[in-house]
């Protein structure tokens, strides 16, 4: 297992290097004159020249790339032009918010998607199955940012059940920062009022992000369970007289969710993409909101850092998914 983990992590390195090349190309080669773009439209030729020298844009591209690699290796992501703080610090603040949000969204997607998919498969071709399949198709077609606005309209503005935006009511102060995740920190501090408030703020954004996930997971679980139900061992266990509910919940499901778990890794990319617009609508102070601000302000260092961070998280999630396979399926674990 450990050997697998090390080997799998090493495999990520080439694609990380590729990611660095990609971001470098994006930032330095795509804009015709990065210094002018950075200086803004009102800058004089002299100001542009100063920026060019300051950021090293006047040196040859290969040299710039080596300097850039050195900075990244030291974890030096530079200063954000917009917030005037080190980018690493900004990211450190925004990342836990996004992790909390996306993790809850994935959890919600699995908790709703797997039972839905199983129900659809067990009673396949029934009206219930058709209804669930319609839901899954609809879930993949709905635009996250629009769903976010519709949920806000209904639950926050009209019914007033849930808070409209933010991570915590403005009258409350955040729990002491231990993990950066409000749900965890508030529990560690023993503040159940904060926990409840954070949870109510999390509900709509997490559900919005979870919707395409619910659809995908339900779909793959349905297909997996249907396939497993055809296996000989299921016929045998049915004949021996296992209760159908127990059979499905314990034996069939474990043999069926591997494909759905793989989807979680792929889903994560969709989640982060969706988070860009959704976080903005709910004023969720995460990576997505930060990315939009950075991009709209052409904050080069911040854009770069966001792209890299997301790429790294993406790689890590995929390693975790591989490990999860091993936990679900001992045959996979043996090959690790």
């Amino acid at each position: 297992m450990l050997r697998f983990l090390v080997r799998r992590s090493l495999l990520v390195l080439p694609s990380l290097l590729g990611l660095l090349v990609l971001t470098f190309v994006l930032m330095r080669v795509v804009p015709s004159d990065p210094a002018a773009a950075l200086a803004g439209e009102t800058a004089s030729a002299q100001q542009i020249e100063q920026i060019r020298v300051k950021y090293g844009f006047d040196r040859p591209l290969p040299e710039q790339f080596v300097i850039y690699l050195g900075q990244m290796a030291r974890g030096d992501l530079g200063i954000s032009v917009f917030s005037n703080r080190p980018v690493a610090q900004d990211i450190g603040y925004a990342l836990p918010a996004t992790i909390e949000l996306t993790f809850c969204a994935l959890l919600l997607a699995a908790l709703i998607g797997i039972p839905l998919g199983t129900l659809a498969a067990v009673w396949h071709n029934s009206p219930l199955d058709h209804a669930i399949r319609m839901l899954t198709v609809a879930g993949l077609a709905v635009a996250g940012f629009w769903l976010a606005i519709m949920l806000q309209l209904l639950f926050a503005m009209d019914l007033g059940w849930l808070p409209l935006r933010g991570r915590l009511a403005s009258t409350l102060t955040a729990p002491p920062d231990i993990s950066g995740l409000f749900l965890v920190d508030s529990l560690l501090a023993g503040r159940f009022d904060l926990f409840g408030n954070a949870l109510s703020h999390l509900a709509m954004p997490a559900f919005t992000l979870a919707v395409p996930g619910i659809a995908t997971i339900a779909r793959f679980t349905r297909a997996g369970v249907l396939e497993t139900m055809q296996k000989d061992f299921v016929a045998y266990e049915t004949a021996v007289g296992y209760a159908p509910a127990r059979l499905v919940a314990i034996y069939v499901l474990r043999n069926s969710v591997v494909a759905a778990v793989t989807q979680i890794g792929l889903l994560f990319g969709a989640l982060i993409s969706s988070a860009v617009a959704v976080e903005r609508i709910y004023d969720w102070p995460g990576i997505g909101s930060y990315a939009v601000t950075a991009i709209l302000n052409l904050d080069y260092n911040a854009i770069l850092a966001v792209t890299l961070t997301v790429g790294i998280i993406y790689a890590v999630v995929n390693i975790l998914v591989d490990l999860a396979h091993g936990l679900i399926d001992p045959r996979v674990a043996e090959q690790m």
């Binding site: 198709v137 996250g144 940012f145 629009w146 982060i272 991009i295 993406y314």
Partner: protein, 279 residues
């Protein structure tokens, strides 16, 4: 005809086909169908933010324009953008996938590694960054979306090419001295046609969705274009009173994407039941 009948037996796919055809029709005839075709660019401040009525079925927006007309007129932009993006992505990805799959060696490695890297960042993030760096406009948004979608075509074609390359007819063609280009484009490509068509159909839905996000974030279409995503962004300040302004453009996105997704899924099951996976 038999194939068509078999396809039509798949109810969801038939619904998808119907929605897609309806979208194409609306896109083509937009100005004739819209009750106020001039509302794409004109404004009537006196009638701003009117709720849905017989006169304005979807209500009016902040500049007094008929939301129903703008949703109809927006169809052309949405489909046009998606078609452009998918075509450019296809024009890039298909030849690269063919070359990588047929040639092998370092060139193949290089192409597929670049594909991996582009796929290592979520598509929207890359598209948003690229669109903004290229100066925000509809054209940049299309280029950015195409630049991030081609790897999907490349992978699909690569896999098919690898499968077909060892077939006897390719050996035979090489034996009688057919040029590699001829083999790739005239003989291998037709074998990969069905997965490409499926990928393109699903890509249409996906691109409509992503382009709407770009429009919403202000990195795609610019006012006063009747873009769906842009309209939803503009509507946000007028909530909750003017709910119709945000609701109907979103429903249009939903319907169009739903149509292409259903059709794509149906086509996939139809041409190749083995391919029942990926998005």
């Amino acid at each position: 005809m038999l194939a068509l009948r078999k396809f039509l037996r798949d109810t969801p796919a038939t619904i998808g086909l119907g929605i897609v055809l309806a979208c194409i029709l609306v896109a083509a005839l937009g100005p004739c169908l819209a009750p106020y075709p001039d509302d794409a660019f004109e404004s009537h401040i006196l009638q701003r933010l009117k709720p849905p009525s017989a006169e304005f079925p979807f209500g009016t927006d902040n500049l007094g324009r008929d939301v129903f007309s703008r949703v109809i007129l927006g169809t052309r932009y949405a489909l046009g953008v998606a078609l452009m993006v998918v075509s450019i992505a296809m024009a890039l990805g298909v030849p690269l996938g063919l070359i990588a799959g047929y040639r092998g060696g370092w060139l193949s490695e290089a192409i597929m590694r670049v594909t991996d890297i582009v796929l290592a960042v979520p598509q929207l993030i890359l598209a948003v960054v690229l669109a903004q760096l290229l100066k925000p406009s509809l054209e940049s948004a299309m280029l950015a979306l195409a630049a991030t979608y081609w790897p999907f075509f490349c992978r699909t074609v690569y896999a098919e090419t690898r499968r077909v390359r060892s077939a006897l007819f390719v050996d035979a063609l090489e034996g009688i001295g057919a040029s590699p280009w001829r083999i790739m484009f005239l003989h291998i490509l037709p074998n990969a046609a069905s997965p490409i068509i499926v990928r393109a159909t699903i890509g249409m839905g996906f691109t409509i969705l992503t382009a709407a996000v770009l429009g919403f974030l202000g990195m795609g279409a610019t006012p006063p274009l009747p873009d769906w995503g842009l309209a939803i962004a503009e509507s946000r300040q007028y909530l909750p009173e003017s709910w119709w302004f945000a609701t109907f453009p979103g429903l249009a996105i939903f319907l169009a994407v739903l149509g292409f997704n259903l059709l794509g899924d149906g086509l996939r099951d139809f041409v190749d039941p083995r391919l029942r996976r990926s998005r």
